[in-house]
Every structure is written in C-alpha cells, then in structure tokens.
Symmetry: C3
Subunit: 265 residues, 3 copies
C-alpha cells in the first residue's frame, strides 16, 4: 500500500497488506506479555489466542523484567491499576526500552484520576511504541482537559485528532485514537479506519483488547503505524461481521472470537 | 404502584413502574463504581453495559475517593477481599457517606470467615444504602449463625426474612435477600419478587451481579427499596427468559446478556 | 476397572467407573477452594459449577487457613502469582497438609521464571496430592530444562512421560501430564487418556481448568490417580463433543460449559 507522506489515507479489510500481516502473525504466533486490567484479562487472552498469538499475563515486579526479555511484545494497560501494578508496569516498560521490545500503552481513564495520570506520565516518558486511547484519554495525555467521564470517551475521535498528532510528535509513539472512526498517526502520516459496530461499546474492554491486538501485530508489521492500522482495521471488520450475526452483546462477544479465529482463512 | 405501609406486596415484570425505571436508567446511563471480586469483574461490567449503565472498576485506595465523587452509585463486594481491597472499600464507603452517593454492600460469605466478617461489620456501620445477600449472609449480618457453607446459602430465603427486616431496621439499609424467592425490605415495607431459574445458580456471580444492578438503579429510582425491587424483578424476568433459550449454563450467560440489552425495547 | 500394576492402560468416556465418579461428584457437590490465576477465575468457577461442584475463591493469607478447613479440596495455580498470593498459597498448602485436604498444584510456567519456580519448589515440598502441568512444566519440575516458552508447552507430552513418572516417585504426588495425549501416573501405574480437540488450545486456561476439575474429583474418587484420570477423560470427552458443535473458540467455550453440565445425565 502506498501511503501519502502527509494527509490521510483510509484502510479497510480485506486490503492485501492486512491479509499478509495476519498471515505473518499466524505463522509466527508472537508471545504477547500483557499487564492489563482485572476486568479484561480473560477476554484479552481469548482474543489473542483467537487471532493466533500467544498471550501471557505476568504481572509481579519480581518477574516482569525476566519475561519482557522472552516476549515478542508488551502491553501495559492501567485500567485497574494498584501501586504494585504500577511498579511492575514501570519495570516492564524500562526493560522493553533496554531490549528493544515493542510495547503498547493503554492509558485507561488518564486525566480523570490523579494517581494513574502520574503513572501514565512516567510510562509515556519510557517511550511506548504505540499509545492507544479514546479521545478523552488522548486529549488528557496531550495536556488538555478531555472532560473524561470514567472510561468512556465524551469527545468524538475526530475532535482529538490534532491532539493525537501532536502527542505522536512529542512522545515519539504512534498514537491510535479509538472512536466511531479510528485514527492512527505517527505524527507525519495519519490513517483513518472505519468499521466496527455500536455493539462493540456494549461489551467491556473492546478498546483494551484492541490495544492487545496492536501489541500482537507489532513484531510482524513493517512499522508501528502499520501494526496499529492493521489491528484496528481487523478489529473493525471482525466487529462488523460479528454484529451481523449477534442478537446482543453476549452473543456478539462469542461471535467476535469465532470470526477472529477464521477471518481470512 | 401502591405499596402497602406494611405487609408484603409482590412485584414482577412487566409492571409499568419497572419499565419506567428501566427507561430512566437507559436514558441516564449511570456511572457505577464497582469494587467487586476477581471472579465476576468481567461479567459484572458486561451486565451493566447490557442494561445501559456505565461500569467502572477503580479499586486502589489512592483513587477511590476521587472516583466516588464522580460516580452515580457505588458497589462494594467482598468476595475475594484482600487487605488492600479492604482499605479501598472502607475509603470508598466513607466517601460515599460524605457525598451522599448511594451504595450497595454485598457481604459475600460474611459469617463464614473471620477477616471479611470484621471488614463487613465496619462497612455496615458506614451505612450502605442497600445490603444484598443470601439467607446465610443476612442471618450472619443480623448476628445469627447461618451455617453458611462458602458462598452458597444453605437456608431458604423465607427463613431469613425476619432477620432481613430486623437488619434493615438496625442498619438503616434496605436489605435485598436473594433466594428462590427474592425479598426486599426497608424494615417497614417488604416486597417479594418471583422469577429466575435454577440455571442462575449454575453461573458464577449471578448474585454479585444483581448487587451491581441494584447499584445502577439507585440513582434513577424513587427509593432504595424500589431500586432493589426493580433490579431483582428485572433480573428474574431476564433469567427466566434466558433459561428458556439456553442449552446449559454457558449459553444461559450469553442469552442473559442479550436479553438484558433488549428487554422492554 | 482393573488397572495393571505397571504398564499403561487407557481410559475414555463412557467407562462405567467415570460415570460413577461423576454421579458421586454431582451427589456430593464438593466445595473446591481455588487460589488460581487472574485470567481464569471466572471460567474456572463456571466449569466447576457446570460439572456440579461448588467453587470458592478465597485468596488472602488472612483467610486461607480457615477456608481450607471447610473445603473438600484445594487448587493452587501460580499463573499470575504475586508475593501476597505466594504467602496465601503456602499457608493454604501447609493447612491442607495438617487437615488431610487433598490438593492440586498447577505450576504454570515453572522453569521459565525464577520467582515462581522458587515458590513452586516450596509448594512441591508441601506434598500436593496431584501436580498437573504440561510437558515443559513437568520437565522443569523434575529438574530438567524444558525450554518452556511462556505457558505453552514446546515438548510433546510423551517425551515428558519418564520425567512425570520420576517426579511422581520423588514427590509422592500423582502427576497429570497434559498434552495432545494426557497421561496420569502415580509412579507405579500410568494411564493414557485420549480425547479433546485442537480448539481447546485456542481458549485460555483450559489446562488450568482441568486442574480445578481434578481437585473436584479428589474427594469422590477411589484414589488420586483415578481422580486425575477421570477429570482428564471427562475433559477430553466434553471437549470433543463441544468442538463438534462449535464455530470457533468463542462458541467452543459456551458449548463446553453446556455439555459439561449435561454429560451422562
């Protein structure tokens, strides 16, 4: 795919680059070290297994340094952070910097709560490969007040796009901005990704799980920007497909895993 | 609905008051701060999303005071309590007292284990708006020995009704007593709620999730008694409906979420 | 069933001994105290409820001694171990030794990470009734280097069978070795169990859940060897059946719970 140097292209399944990246993921089965929140651990692991990756949740400060050295990618999600979690996250992120392990930061509810916001600020300085968040979180991280209300975004994703681009430039991370339309940007190039369904907002942790999927694509993608774009586009396509088969949020989650395991095969 | 000043009325879907309360819940989407047990976090969040509420699990003592001030209601469930959890729960409950935020206490296995029983006693003194438990737990809280066996109730709910009424009077909380028949009482008025299905006992955390649903109804109900009654009646109706479509406990949980998201629409 | 004193018999559903053990389990509904990992708590509880057991997750060092004394069996799984978890696990295992409560050790990723490996070594010295692991974990526990990669086994289970037998002899535990073929051994007698489906590797924590199921069968089986064999054979049969009805890993997990609740009825 030819990306414009600046400006915005859009990406959607079944673009051949996406199918190639998915085939590489399934071939390599990257080991994704997840330090994520208590609400979504099970679903995150199941999404990673469904797509063909190998999840592992190793969460204690005594073990994370050793495990980051084995893992192909790392996810840090602060959704239900505690003080011991923060220690483990910071140690894991530091280690990823030393080993060159690509990692995703998901700053759930940053800007809403002071403690986690301070931890997230430290994590951003440890140079995540990708930051994934909703509009409120990205605005907060960019030093603005997003008026966030818990974990929901109260701002449309397009409104936060300038902040996302600015944050990408200042942090060095690719920023994946989730919303009705997803955007991914490295500060120079920006892609928009459509897809998904309203039902995705009725299942807990879909955004968190997208962060995990981006982590899984990092080791098999040509760039962090393409990893974030690929995961987002795949997520949207599977979400649209699953919603068409579902009778509500319960069956949606089941269909999502089923479709994710077979898409493109 | 006209409630008798004393004595027992019964309530069942689709009573118009229930439909109105559900419509108000969906319109307002109350933010429910959950400090709940590790087994049910995911299902609890999904039930709250399915009904139309906004769940958020914020669990560390550094953050709960700040978050209770934002939330519309609070749930405290001691199912897998640890010492740091207890600190966070007590701080959250104290804050709810200051801010007037309505909150639900779910005293899982109180009376069975000394440590949590002592924490629950402190929580009761912080004046929960609603206490939800099974017969053993309510008996234990009322200073009796329920002969509890883990998290299961070994006593029929009707046998614990006098204790529930007494507990409501002494604590100032509405007591929601779960069992084959559910009862809710504020010490003066008592309502019985039928519905539900045997399959609900084969899915973990249905009772815990009912506690969360009561919390979600508190900000949109005319009284804590009606919030507890509405949540219980809705739970029973959705449970009966889902059981009729399910082939076992796995599909029951899926159907429960699907039906909860569409009931009354 | 007549088991040879040495050599290898195989076991599969619907052997009458399996059906009898399942009927005893459903009749007694053993209370299984689980100290397990954060990824699988919900699914583990649902599997135990589906088969007819009574799960309870009690995880803090302040409570485990008291609860082991009530429980019929104990599961200790180190998948997401932290320092407070380790304290609780060691206290629970010590108590089980004093009370004669049968217990299962699931040494997830032992041999891969130093901290948990040291805790697992202490747990093995507390004489678990059954050790359940994959080939890498069993090799690691037997003092060999399994070359484990996270929680996946990279060695075929048959290759680890000599190590399993040796470990059973040195530790006094029955060893349940999971893989494409499962083996259970008490060091003298070894049984092989076929069944299951590739989809079981696409759902997180199936192995962890098998550990819980073994714990549930311990109080109702003629020997720890038969408990491990029965749980493994039942797991394989339900897995094969569920896979035939499933469209992917999402529906597989749902079908697994449904079938487990009705098999043999």
């Amino acid at each position: 795919m030819t990306l414009p140097v600046s400006g915005m292209a859009s990406l959607a399944w079944p673009h051949p680059d996406l199918k190639d990246a998915l085939a590489r993921l399934r071939g390599r089965s990257p080991l994704v070290h997840c330090i994520t929140n208590a609400v979504v651990t099970n679903f995150t692991a199941n999404v990673l297994l469904a797509v063909g990756a190998a999840p592992a949740m190793v969460v204690t400060v005594e073990e994370v340094e050793e495990f980051v050295r084995i893992a192909d990618a790392l996810l840090v999600n602060v959704g239900t952070i505690t003080v011991p979690d923060a220690e483990a996250m910071l140690k894991a992120a530091e280690t990823a910097g030393l080993t060159g392990t690509p990692w995703v930061l998901d700053p759930v509810a940053a800007g809403v709560l002071a403690y986690r916001t301070s931890v997230v600020a430290k994590l951003v300085r440890l140079r995540p490969t990708v930051i994934r968040g909703n509009a409120s979180e990205i605005l907060a991280l960019n030093g603005l007040n997003g008026g966030g209300r818990g974990v929901d975004s109260t701002v449309a994703s397009a409104d936060a796009l300038p902040a996302a681009i600015e944050l990408a430039r200042s942090s060095g991370a690719v920023v994946a901005l989730s919303g009705k339309v997803d955007y991914v940007t490295d500060g120079q190039r920006t892609l928009s990704i459509e897809g998904g369904d309203e039902l995705m907002g009725r299942v807990t942790g879909m955004g968190c799980t997208l962060g995990a999927l981006i982590a899984a694509f990092l080791p098999v993608s040509v760039s962090p920007l393409m990893a974030a774009a690929t995961a987002s586009a795949l997520f949207g396509a599977v979400g649209t497909d699953a919603a068409g088969r579902a009778g509500g949020p319960g069956s949606f989650a089941v269909e999502f895993l089923d479709r994710l395991s077979t898409i493109g095969l």
